[in-house]
């Protein structure tokens, strides 16, 4: 069990870091896949350069939020030359804690009627 205090030490995450962790939430990915996933999900509003991404990965690895994994996806999708990264349980908790933090801010803003309670589509 990760203590609350330990999680808090990582917060707040920078938006690129949060996006990276979220991108890995549904499965292992290599660097380029992470970049593409983030661009796709944010409609290209968040774009990580290759250098920025690997700088993030370096920090996340050092902090134990992600690890390099030896497991490979389907042989058809696999690219031998690339390294794949996986979200650690700590990384998952940190990402969740950050999202909770953001949600509480959103809640506060709603209570003060800064944003509407819900949006109609």
């Amino acid at each position: 069990m990760t203590s609350r205090a330990r999680l808090e030490a990582f917060l707040p995450l920078t938006p690129p870091m949060l996006h990276t962790l979220v991108a890995l939430a549904d499965g292992d990915k290599h660097g380029y896949a992470i970049i593409k996933e983030i661009a796709r999900r944010t409609d290209n509003s968040v774009r990580l350069s290759a250098g920025t991404l690997y700088a993030l990965i370096r920090r996340a690895e050092a902090d134990g939020l992600i690890v390099e994994t030896d497991d490979r996806p389907d042989i058809a999708l696999d690219d031998e030359r690339r390294r794949y990264y996986r979200l650690t349980p700590l990384g998952r908790s940190v990402a969740a804690a950050e999202i909770e933090r953001l949600e509480s801010i959103v809640e506060m803003a709603r209570a003060k009627k800064l944003v509407p309670r819900s949006r109609s589509i």
Partner: protein, 890 residues
């Protein structure tokens, strides 16, 4: 499909490779391949997409990585290294403090020299486009200046010069609202401020064509510093009348705060149009100085036309100089122009070249001291590194790369050096302020006020220097860490590897340090001994028991009144108790200011190449020769009859007599000095006039009663020098005329110490001794470091020997003989180096040979003692090693 072999890399791949290389080494090792792969895929996708948008995105990504991500990664690692280095340094406070102080010592010397060089050679004048300013001077003969008609001629070379200005500083007295200040006033041509592009802080400045016509209303511009110190920035001073040497001038403005003047040594308090020259001289010839081509009194600066090179200007001006030489062979035959950037002529065109050399040599010495300092800290780091072997081994076992550990040591060296610089800069700022205050007090005839301030340029240079010396300091331990075998180090702990070659390097380093400090100390010692001898030297007068006080009655008095004033003061002082005699002299010998004259005998030599010699010139009252104990060897000295009404007479010295009338009696002959024809009535013994190491120089003594100079110094011979005498002199002068200010009341000994006589020796002795003492201190620290290292490497061997019954004395003797070898080698090398260096000093040494055995032996003995002490401490420590502990470590 593949043809085999290596496919040439495409341009895109080369760009990608270069981009990856921008990232730190550690980063590349971990992610370089992935980064490269990702970039390659991105590039391939963009090419496939064939849309401008895709390319634009890729380009902006790459740009972001180049300008932000890569530098940020470097910074992160640097911060990490710096943090680690600081923690490591904090863990060893004694080591850190001693290393920082050692570096600060070396850096202070270097920083001080950089500040001096900045003032002398680099700092641009705070004017418009200072890089366009050049100096034009005549490099033959004295005083390196140009005449007014010459200045106008060169000014007309409009194809290379935009314009040229002239200036000439003069001592003067300014009286505003009843208070008189003695200041230095710059006489400037009308275009001075407009050419430089100086703006007024208040009022207006001298305009082109202002004061050009005779009889123009006299105007004066205040220098900003003087406006602040004297008038407290009062703007109402503009429009007021200032009496300069008694004549009224209207104050029209104040210069901008950043502009001091074009003088770099003398403080200027006010600027006056050069045409107002007559205020500073009441001789009727004054105005012809603007027509006389032989009256060279302007220092000249010119502004180059845009795009004109110095060489082009030089060529054009040389053509003009050649034309002048043809037109005026009598005065211009020998003129050789010196056309150089303005920064090369500080403080004066005459001294510029030699001062550049002198300050570069001194800076070179200081750089050597700094280099030795850094090498010393390298030694300290190495000695410490030896005890950090286990830590290094552990770090590399934990996965730190060699490169990273190496960089760690370099960072440590650099942190130490930067801390050293942080300590050194405030010390130097304070020292330079003290130096400027000291120099300002040297003489009040001219306010010496060089700007040695430590500006951003100096601080920038210091930090670049700190980084360099940090690299020097950190390199040896970094290389050591890199070559060390971690397994061996974990095993042997403190000892690390025994690197024979690095041991030899360090030994050689100590030898060099000892040699260099010996050389510096020997030079310092020789100068100190010279100073001692110089004080006993025959100066041609007797300085002991002489007291001086200068006054400036100014030209407003008129010759007769001034003479009455001088005579009145002299007679009153001469009758005071304890005073044997008193007399007046225009400028006392060996001061900072002196006068010279071109002299020609009545029968001019027929040799066409003969040039009239330049003689030192002073005006003295009749009692001077007796007061100063100057012997008259032939004829007579001055008497009261040699006054304004009598025929113009002169006393010459033995050298001039031998020059003009060899084997003849010069009495009754006549000579011309700067246009005045004088009858020789006597010959005085030779003396020293400008420097104590000069060869016998010609000199002429004018009768003060005939020349009535507007500035003069009272020379008093006392039986009992006492501080009360100064008060008496001031009081007497105040009684005779309260308007005349008295300045520079001092004994002749003080005058000699601060003047041309001994000042150079004192500064030289101080600087070389200071550098020498620093070198010695550093050499002892270096030796200490080396012996500590040596001992720490031999702990087990020493332990073993002690266990086998060796006595402490044996061990100490062993260690001392090891260090003694280096010290003796250093001293031997140093003695040779000193002999060579001292040869350069030959010209200034007085009464002591450059191979003076006493100096050499004393310095060598002192160094041996210091070396022994420095190595005794670690030697002693070696003997307290517990044999069991040492052996167990094996």
């Amino acid at each position: 499909m593949s043809a085999g072999g290596r496919r040439p890399r495409s341009r895109a791949e080369r760009v990608i490779g270069a981009l990856v290389r921008l990232f730190p080494f550690d980063f590349r090792a971990d992610y370089g391949r992935d980064l490269e792969q990702t970039l390659r895929t991105q590039h391939r996708d963009a090419r496939r997409e064939k849309s401008a948008g895709a390319w634009l995105t890729l380009c902006s990504d790459v740009l972001r990585d180049v300008t932000m991500t890569a530098p940020r990664e470097h910074l992160a690692i640097l911060r990490q290294d710096a943090g680690y280095a600081l923690r490591a340094l904090r863990r060893a406070p004694i080591f850190t403090v001693s290393a920082v102080l050692t570096l600060a010592l070396g850096m202070s010397a270097m920083t001080a020299m950089i500040a001096v060089m900045n003032a002398v050679m680099f700092r641009p004048l705070p004017v418009e486009r200072p890089e366009e300013l050049i100096s034009i001077s005549n490099q033959t003969g004295e005083p390196f200046a140009l005449s007014y008609p010459d200045l106008q001629d060169y000014r007309s070379r409009t194809e290379v010069l935009a314009d040229a200005l002239g200036y000439s500083p003069r001592p003067g007295a300014i009286n505003v609202d009843g208070t008189t200040d003695r200041v230095t006033i710059e006489l400037v041509t009308d275009n001075y401020f407009s050419l430089l592009g100086v703006t007024p802080a208040a009022g207006r400045l001298i305009q082109p064509n202002e004061g050009r016509a005779r009889g123009d209303a006299p105007v004066l511009v205040l220098a900003h510093t003087y406006w602040v110190s004297r008038f407290g920035r009062d703007p109402s001073v503009i429009g007021k009348v200032a009496r300069v040497n008694g004549r009224p001038f209207t104050i029209i403005g104040v210069t901008s705060p950043s502009f001091r003047s074009t003088e770099s040594l003398v403080r200027i308090s006010a600027f006056v149009p050069a045409w107002m020259y007559d205020v500073f001289s009441d001789t009727p010839v004054a105005l012809s100085r603007f027509e006389d081509r032989s009256a060279r009194w302007f220092s000249v600066l010119a502004r180059l036309n845009p795009g004109v090179s110095l060489a082009e200007a030089r060529a054009a001006l040389d053509v003009r100089a050649a034309a002048l030489a043809r037109d005026f062979p009598a005065t211009h035959k020998d003129v050789v122009l010196r056309v150089v950037p303005e920064t090369h002529t500080r403080p004066t065109p005459q001294l510029g070249a030699s001062l550049r050399v002198a300050s570069t040599v001194l800076a070179g010495l200081a750089a050597l001291v700094l280099l030795i300092t850094s090498a010393n800290v390298a030694n300290l780091l190495l000695a410490r590194g030896a005890s950090r072997g286990r830590e290094v081994a552990l770090r590399s076992a934990l996965g730190a790369r060699r490169g990273r550990i190496m960089r760690q040591f370099l960072t440590e060296g650099m942190m130490l050096a930067l801390l050293g610089a942080l300590v050194a800069v405030p010390i130097v700022i304070a020292a330079m302020r003290a130096l400027m205050t000291f120099m300002a007090g040297v003489s009040s005839v001219a306010a010496i006020d060089p700007d040695f301030s430590v500006d951003l340029r100096v601080i920038g240079a210091v930090f670049v220097m700190a980084i360099g010396s940090g690299v020097v300091a950190g390199l040896a331990p970094a290389l050591w860490a890199c070559r060390a075998d971690p397994g061996e180090m974990v095993k042997s702990g403190a000892r690390g590897n025994t690197d024979q070659s690095s041991g030899r390097m360090r030994g050689a380093l100590v030898v060099v340090q000892v040699a260099l400090s010996l050389a510096l100390l020997v030079c310092g010692g020789l100068l100190v001994r010279s100073l001692d001898h110089a004080r006993d030297l025959n100066l041609g007068f007797e300085p002991d028991g002489m007291f001086l006080a200068s006054v400036m009655p100014g030209p407003q008095y008129g010759a007769a009144n001034r003479l009455a004033f001088y005579e009145n003061v002299r007679a009153t002082i001469a009758s005071s108790p304890d005073v044997e005699q008193a007399a007046w002299i225009s400028f006392p010998p060996l001061g900072i200011v002196g006068e010279i004259a071109q002299v020609t005998p009545d029968a001019k030599p027929t040799d066409p190449d003969w040039r009239p010699p330049i003689a030192n010139e002073v005006d003295v009252s009749p009692d001077y020769f007796a007061t100063a104990h100057v012997r008259i060897v032939q004829g007579r000295g001055f008497e009261n009859r040699d006054g304004l009404a009598g025929p113009p007479v002169v006393v010459i010295n033995e050298t001039l007599a031998a020059m003009f009338w060899p084997n003849q009696n010069p009495i009754g002959h006549s000579l011309t000095a700067d246009g005045r024809t004088l009858e020789v009535i006597g010959v005085a013994q030779n003396g020293k006039y400008r420097s104590i190491s000069e060869t016998p120089q010609p000199a002429i003594f004018n009768a003060l009663h005939q020349t009535t100079p507007s500035i003069a110094t009272l020379a008093v011979r006392t039986t009992r020098p006492s501080p009360a005498l100064a008060a008496t002199i001031r009081q007497v002068i105040r009684q005779v005329d309260p308007d005349v200010s008295v300045f520079d009341v001092r004994s002749m000994t003080t005058h000699l110490d601060n003047g041309m006589a001994f000042f150079v020796y004192r500064v030289g002795a101080l600087m070389t001794s200071l550098f020498g003492a620093m070198g010695m201190l550093l050499a002892s620290v270096g030796l200490y470091g080396m012996i500590s290292y040596h001992v720490s490497q031999r702990t087990q061997e020493i332990g073993l020997r002690m266990a086998l019954g060796a006595r402490a004395a044996d061990i100490i003797r062993d260690v001392l003989s090891h260090s003694g070898r280096f010290a003796l080698m250093g001293i031997a090398a140093g003695a040779v180096l000193s002999a060579a260096l001292a040869q350069l000093l030959q010209g200034v040494l007085v009464g002591v040979s450059s191979l003076d055995p006493l100096t050499y032996l004393a310095v060598a003995g002192m160094l041996v003692a210091i070396c022994l002490i420095a190595s005794f401490i670690p030697a002693r420590r070696a003997t307290v090693v517990d044999p069991l502990t040492a052996l167990r470590a094996e």
